[in-house]
């Protein structure tokens, strides 16, 4: 038996020969180069669109009063940042100069908005995944909830805005509620479809060794649906960034949505574009964070992007 086993080993065991590292790693130099190339292309891409805009401004097509080019709305950074000092604007009898410095105010604004996005994201995924799993786990629960959830899922989050205000007044709560409501239904439906897509063999393996329904859900189905759900979460995160601005225009005190409202009311296109650029960067950074989380939690999911690049 031993000799036979070795013979088998030699055949398709060449992957294990020697002490090659478990996961093939690129040398540091190559990784740095690929990172630099990614950053480089990002700069080139943004540079190209900014360049076109600047040229349009130069030849007089883009009116700087309506479509101020990047060097205008990013250039006077210090002036722009002053508008973010809305932290105490609504209070009567407060010296407008007494608030936080402009840079601090910018950070507070960004922090507040990002905090709402992530709080909403967290609550929506926890709720959505729980409800989705319960729908498949308990048949009666599905019968009771799924029709309503399917009915409500196409409703635009904007329609929920008055409800958010009725329920929570103003402040953080309605903004977070809006993010949650925008993502919740999608997360539920995505969870259900992910569960339905789990490889039957994996479930059957667990059934053969005598796993209970609870064990199958906990040990097989939940880990199997995580990769797909994190992808759904990443896509929905952009939705969260969109919704949070709408929610913030209703008067939460401070936040990027509030600043855009201010820009609109004071006819300040420079500030609008400044905020748009800021939100773009924030969305990019938060997607990057989620990607890192994805890689950490889902260490077993292979990266498939390389296949397409080979085409």
């Amino acid at each position: 038996m031993a000799s036979l086993a070795t013979a088998v080993d030699l055949k398709d065991g060449n992957k294990m020969r020697g002490d090659t590292p478990a996961i093939p790693t690129h040398p540091v130099g190559e990784r740095l180069r690929s990172w630099l190339s990614r950053v480089g292309w990002t700069i080139v891409s943004i540079g190209m669109f900014s360049g076109i805009w600047e040229v349009l401004w130069l030849v007089g097509i883009a009116d700087p009063k309506l479509l101020p080019p990047p060097h205008v709305f990013v250039g006077n950074f210090v002036d722009q940042v002053k508008f973010f000092n809305t932290a105490t604007r609504w209070s009567i009898g407060v010296n407008p100069e007494s608030g936080p410095t402009p840079i601090e105010a910018l950070m507070i604004t960004i922090g507040a908005t990002a905090g709402r996005v992530f709080a909403g994201l967290l609550i929506a995924s926890a709720l959505g995944i729980t409800v989705g799993v319960l729908i498949r786990y308990i048949h009666v629960f599905e019968k009771l909830t799924l029709p309503t959830i399917t009915l409500l899922s196409p409703v635009s989050p904007i329609a929920w805005l008055p409800v958010a205000i009725f329920l929570f007044g103003i402040g953080n709560a309605p903004a977070i509620f809006m993010v949650v409501i925008a993502l919740f239904f999608h997360m539920v439906l995505a969870t259900i479809s992910q569960i339905d897509g789990v490889n039957r063999n994996l479930i059957n393996v667990a059934r053969t060794v005598g796993a209970t329904k609870g064990q199958i859900y906990r040990l097989v189905i939940i880990p199997a649906i995580l990769p797909g759900l994190l992808m759904v979460l990443r896509l929905n995160m952009f939705g969260a960034w969109m919704v949070v601005l709408v929610a913030e225009t209703t008067g939460v005190g401070f936040g990027l949505g509030q600043v855009i409202m201010l820009a609109r009311n004071t006819f300040n296109p420079s500030l609008v574009f400044f905020c748009i650029a800021l939100i773009g960067v924030l969305g990019f950074v938060s997607d990057w964070i989620l990607r890192i989380v994805q890689k950490r939690i889902l260490y077993w999911v292979p990266e498939t992007a390389g296949v397409l690049r080979g085409l």
């Binding site: 086993a5 055949k11 398709d12 393996v205 060794v209 005598g210 040990l219 077993w300």
Partner: protein, 274 residues
């Protein structure tokens, strides 16, 4: 040959009595997969199920595994009615069925984890089972680091870790290349001998059935019925180029040919009249 109501001999690893299976019974999509199967598998016997694709041989395996319920008839194993899945009957699938998020040893000892076996004991069992399939070195690896053949051996190790009395194999080597497949057949004979378990092996490969089994059960095209059972009384490893094997191959080919043609004719008729 309908079910006669008497219980089969308790020594049989698996006994099928008048087993029929209709998928989606009672709906418009209903189709009959198996009709009145009577089959006895002795303890330690190696039986191949051979038939055209779609003849229900895999269905029979799923029924014996307890993963699906029979429409009619009874299934027995060692004197007990067979009604639910059991670790005594391990099913090995055609495609990879390893949990990609677990390491090889965690995969192998998954069944023990379900029972709440302490981790040290699980590691020991996994180590032993991996030794038996010649993959000790893969202990801490993850499934995606292994080749297709190695993954199937891990799946076999996982089955062995539960000390099964019956190994059910659903075309386990179909996705492998020819050379690997031959090695895996040698390997399987080796595992079968050392474990003492009965093996029920689904294949549509005549050579594979001839090389491995004590008996070949030939199925008819849909609905699957047992057309004939061909015993093979030859020592292993078998020389597939010997005259006896050649004769067997021709016999089995002849049995299969009618059925494959019938299956084709049926499919064509189905395609014309929707």
């Amino acid at each position: 040959m309908a079910y006669d109501g008497k219980s089969p001999p308790p020594g049989n690893a698996v006994s099928c009595r008048g087993v029929s299976k209709i998928w989606s019974a009672g709906t418009v999509r209903a189709h009959e997969a198996l009709r009145e199967i009577d089959l006895d598998i002795g303890p330690g016997e190696f039986v191949a199920l051979l038939g055209p694709s779609g003849c229900g041989k895999s269905t029979l395996l799923y029924l014996i595994a307890g993963l699906e319920a029979v429409t009619a008839g009874e299934l027995w194993s060692f004197g007990q009615r067979l009604l639910a899945p059991s670790p005594e009957r391990s099913l090995i699938f055609q495609e990879t069925s390893l949990f990609p998020w677990l390491t090889v040893w965690q995969n192998v000892s998954f069944g023990l984890a379900i029972r709440g076996t302490p981790v040290e004991q699980r590691r020991a069992v996994a180590k032993e089972a991996l030794q038996r399939v010649g993959l000790s070195a893969a202990f801490d690896k993850r499934p995606d680091e292994l080749s297709g053949g190695m993954r199937q051996r891990v799946a076999v190790a996982r089955a062995l870790a539960m000390q099964p009395k019956v190994l059910l194999m659903d075309e386990p080597f179909a996705a492998l290349d020819v050379q690997t497949r031959q090695r895996m057949q040698d390997f399987l004979i080796d595992v079968w001998r050392s474990s003492g378990a009965s093996v029920l092996f689904v294949t549509h490969h005549i050579d594979e059935a001839v090389a491995l089994s004590d008996r070949v059960v030939v199925f008819t095209a849909r609905p699957g019925r047992i057309k004939t059972i061909v015993p093979i009384d030859m020592d292993r490893p078998r020389n597939l180029f010997s005259t006896e094997c050649e004769k067997l191959r021709m016999e089995l080919t002849a049995h299969l040919k009618d059925e494959v043609e019938r299956a084709f004719a049926e499919q064509e008729a189905f395609a014309v009249t929707p």
